[in-house]
C-alpha cells in the first residue's frame, strides 16, 4: 500500500492518537484506515479530548457536529485537517 505523505498537522494528530490509543500501537503502526473506536479503542471521553486537542494544536476551529459524527477512521481525521486546517 502506498504511504501518503502526511503534513505537519496530520503528523501531530497521528502522534496524539498513538498516545491515547488503548491498543499499544506505536506511531508507525498506526494506519489511516484504522477505525477510531473499534480498532484503536478510543472511548467517548478520549474522543472529545482528541477533538479539543486537535483544534488547540492547529489553532483554529476545524470541527462541527456533523464532521465529528462522521469521523470513523484515522483517515477521516486527516481529511478534515486537509480541507479545513
Amino acid at each position: 500500500m502506498t504511504q501518503i505523505a502526511l503534513n505537519e498537522n496530520q503528523l501531530a494528530v497521528k502522534q496524539m492518537l498513538s498516545g491515547l490509543c488503548q491498543k499499544n500501537l506505536n506511531h508507525n503502526e498506526l494506519q489511516g484506515e484504522m477505525k477510531l473506536f473499534e480498532d484503536l479503542g478510543v472511548d467517548s471521553l478520549q474522543f472529545i479530548r482528541l477533538i479539543l486537542e486537535i483544534e488547540s494544536s492547529v489553532g483554529r476551529k476545524v470541527f462541527d457536529v456533523e464532521t465529528i459524527a462522521n469521523l470513523k477512521t484515522v483517515n477521516d481525521l486527516y481529511d478534515v485537517l486537509e480541507t479545513k486546517a
Binding site: F37, G41, D43, S44, L45, Q46, F47, I48, R49, I51, L52, E53, E55, S56, K61, F63, D64, V65, E66, I68, A69, N70
Partner: protein, 315 residues
C-alpha cells in the same frame, strides 16, 4: 422492516434549555482525564450547544432518512418548575411539538408535565392528548419528583383510559438536576397501581439495567428503552448487556432509542441502527428479536400497524 426510534427530543434551546447543557458540560469536564484549558472549555461548551441547534428537526429527518428510521418519538420535558427564566412556557413547548406533528408524519410526540403544576398541568396534558395528537406521557424524574408521586395518578388514569404509554427517565442526567428519584424501582408503585398502563423505563436497557431488567421481567407492564446504548457500544459492554436481557426473556420488552440529539458526536443515526442489526449478524439476536427491538415492541405499545403510522389508540 419498519424502525421506530422511541426516544428523541427536538434539538432546540427552547426544548432543551442551556441550563441542562451547562450541567452536562460540568460533568464531562470532570470526567476528562485532565483539565481543559479555558479555551478548550469554551470550545466544548460551543460544541455542546451546536448539538442542540436543529429546531425544525431538519437534520433529524435527514438522519432518519439515511438510517431507515420511519418514526421517531419526540419527548417533551417540563423543565419549567426546576429551571427559572425559560424563554417559553410549557404550553408553548407542546405547541412547538404540535407544529412539527402537523408538518411531518415522521413523528409521534409524548406530552410532559411536571405534576407540581396541579390542575392546570393536568388540563394541559389532557388537551395535548385529546386535541393536539400527543400519544403518550413523558415523566422526567430528574426535575425532582418520583414517577410514583400520587400527583401523577390522575395523569395515569387518563393514560389507562386511552391506552397511552408512559416513558419515565431512569439514571443520572444533567448535573444541574436531581438524581434522587431516578432509580428504576421508583416506578414500581405506579406500575403496580396502574396495571393497564405500559411504563417504559427510559435508558434502563443500559443504565441500572439489572434493576430495570428485573422489573421488566416480573412486571408485564414495564418495558426498557435502550437509548444511551451508544456509550456502552463505545465502552464495549453493549453486547454483554443485551445478552443479559435476552437470557431473561426480555426481547419483547426492549425498545430501540437514540436520545437524539445527545449522542450525535459519536455517530450518525445510521450507525446506531447498524449496531443493532450487527448484533443479529453476529448471531446474538434472531431476526425476530431484531424486528421486535427496532419496532415491533414499540408498535405494540402505540397500537401502530407494521407499515403505517395509523393508530387505534390516541386519536
Amino acid at each position: 422492516m419498519m424502525i421506530i426510534d422511541c426516544h428523541c427530543h427536538i434539538a432546540s434551546r427552547t426544548v432543551l434549555p442551556p441550563q441542562f447543557f451547562d450541567g452536562w458540560l460540568s460533568t464531562v469536564k470532570a470526567q476528562l482525564p485532565s483539565n481543559l484549558d479555558a479555551a478548550q472549555a469554551q470550545r466544548m461548551a460551543e460544541l455542546l450547544r451546536e448539538l442542540n441547534e436543529d429546531p425544525q428537526s431538519v437534520k433529524l429527518i435527514a438522519e432518519m432518512e439515511s438510517a431507515g428510521i420511519d418514526l421517531a418519538v419526540l419527548l417533551v420535558i417540563d423543565f419549567g418548575i426546576v429551571y427559572k427564566d425559560l424563554p417559553i412556557t410549557i404550553e408553548e413547548v407542546h405547541l412547538e411539538h404540535k407544529r412539527l406533528l402537523d408538518r411531518s408524519n415522521r413523528f409521534i410526540a409524548f406530552s410532559g408535565v411536571d405534576p407540581r403544576r396541579g390542575k392546570e398541568g393536568l388540563e394541559l396534558f389532557e388537551k395535548a392528548v385529546t386535541d393536539w395528537g400527543f400519544r403518550g406521557l413523558k415523566i422526567y424524574a430528574p426535575c425532582g419528583f418520583s414517577p410514583s408521586d400520587k400527583r401523577l395518578f390522575p395523569f395515569y388514569e387518563i393514560c389507562s383510559a386511552r391506552n397511552l404509554p408512559v416513558l419515565t427517565h431512569v439514571g443520572p442526567s444533567s448535573a444541574t438536576l436531581s438524581f434522587r428519584h431516578t432509580n428504576p424501582l421508583g416506578v414500581d408503585t405506579a406500575a403496580l397501581n396502574f396495571p393497564n398502563v405500559n411504563f417504559i423505563l427510559g435508558h434502563a436497557g443500559v443504565t441500572l439495567y439489572k434493576q430495570g431488567g428485573l422489573l421488566a421481567q416480573y412486571r408485564p407492564n414495564i418495558y426498557l428503552d435502550l437509548s444511551g446504548f451508544q456509550a456502552e457500544v463505545g465502552r464495549g459492554y453493549f453486547r454483554n448487556i443485551l445478552k443479559w436481557h435476552l437470557s431473561r426473556g426480555l426481547s419483547r420488552k426492549l425498545l430501540f432509542g437514540t436520545d437524539w440529539p445527545i449522542h450525535r458526536f459519536f455517530g450518525s443515526q445510521q450507525r446506531w441502527v447498524n449496531e443493532i442489526r450487527n448484533c443479529e449478524a453476529a448471531g446474538l439476536l434472531s431476526a425476530e428479536d431484531t424486528e421486535n427491538i427496532l419496532s415491533g415492541n414499540m408498535r405494540s405499545l402505540l397500537g401502530i400497524t407494521a407499515r403505517s403510522n395509523d393508530t387505534n389508540s390516541a386519536k
